[in-house]
Point group: C2
Chain length 249, copies 2
């Protein structure tokens, strides 16, 4: 039975604590929670310095805090961060260092099912890699071995695929509201968009005025968009589609 | 039984012809197909001038051709275009004019199920509106009455929700390939993105470095992006998210 400490109790920390409860071969020992939280069925401490030694320590803290927190851990052992953006060596060199990065968008509203999440792991040696792999598998996750440059690229892809697409939908929802167009009208299109991506490369699924080079419609849309930022997004993405498919600007 | 002619046999035209076959109360009479197509179970003519009078004529031709084609129809009757971008009055005034706009992304690879498509209709009088509504219902579609300005706004929303999001996924697929990161890794995230949008407003689901104002990660990503167009998209969307959530640039 390997002991695990978790540092941090934000969206990701809570999901990890939840997932660790049922993990065969691993036992959740302590959680560092700075603010007071009631009803936890695990030992809670307020700072990293109070942690008892554990075989694995998972850091679910903001990226900017990783260097400092990893320097404060009062025992030696495997320490893994959960960040897509940070290299392995952001962690203090006194630790055996690793990365345990679940690729997903975490939020308190939606319960995360680790069995559906790809887990990207990295470590400095095979033994530590095996520990992280065993935990990921115990959580039911699919395991991927990525080095830091690959993970950084993956994180950029995640920004495009989740953050940016979600924001475009937010903009569309705002625009629909402005003209009293019910957004439910757009849900089947959104569903179809997603279904197509499952079936073919996105570049094969591309349609619309930019793909067709339909300048009349593009001009009409730009004239109708009243917000300067929305206009800029429309322009940049249209030009990017032009470029992607070899149309002239 | 109302007779229907269809002009055009691209992605949309083919889907309409397919959907019309089983429509109670409507009978497909003729289809105008300029290029030769074999194996059609419907009367095919090569030009609009050869059409026999029909109660309803659906124009599934490029937006730019609508004015000209609608002027050539050799009989009087209800003529509806299927464009999201064009106003009703793009059609020649000698016709009884209408719009029959199925909001979806059409392509030959994926069979379109009209029963899952919202149909936006518009006409100059109640009687014609009723004919278009009856056809939409016979196809199993959900009917929405939108005027031309609302439809134009809806079309812009569709560009954001489908064309632009799809393009962002295409860019992500290109970036993943460059670093040999398997894109399948990103599919659960994409699925989660879509699931969240079904459950809450997209603005509530927004996460990521731009939402958090995580400048370190944003700078890192911009440095890693080698293509100038990708960099510009990243910047514009990040700034748009900043603005949306009141962060400083």
């Amino acid at each position: 039975m390997r002991s695990v400490n978790v540092v941090g109790y934000g969206n990701l920390g809570q999901s990890l604590v939840e997932a660790l409860r049922g993990c065969v071969g691993f036992s959740l020992q302590q959680v560092v929670i700075r603010s007071s939280v009631v009803g936890q069925k695990v030992e809670v401490v307020r700072s990293v310095s109070e942690l008892k030694p554990a075989e694995l320590t998972l850091l679910a803290v903001p990226d900017d805090a990783l260097a400092e927190v990893s320097a404060q851990i009062p025992y030696s052992g495997l320490v893994a961060h959960c960040s897509g953006a940070k290299n392995l060596d952001v962690l203090h060199a006194k630790n055996r260092r690793g990365v345990f990065y679940p690729l997903q968008t975490f939020s308190k509203e939606v319960q995360v099912d680790f069995s559906k999440i790809p887990l990207c792991i990295e470590a400095e040696n095979k033994e530590d890699e095996a520990i992280l792999e065993a935990l990921a598998q115990a959580m039911g996750s699919r395991v991927y071995h990525l080095n830091s440059p690959q993970r950084a690229q993956l994180h950029i892809c995640a920004v495009f695929v989740n953050n940016f697409t979600n924001h475009l939908v937010a903009v569309a929802q705002k625009l629909a509201k402005e003209q009293q167009v019910p957004f439910e009208l757009l849900m089947p299109l959104l569903e179809q968009t997603f279904e197509k991506i499952k079936q073919m490369p996105a570049s094969d699924a591309q349609t619309g005025p930019a793909r067709r080079g339909d300048m009349q419609t593009i001009e009409k849309h730009l004239n109708l968009l009243s917000d300067a930022t929305d206009k800029k997004i429309y322009k940049e993405l249209t030009e990017s589609i032009f470029r992607y498919y070899g149309k002239k600007l």
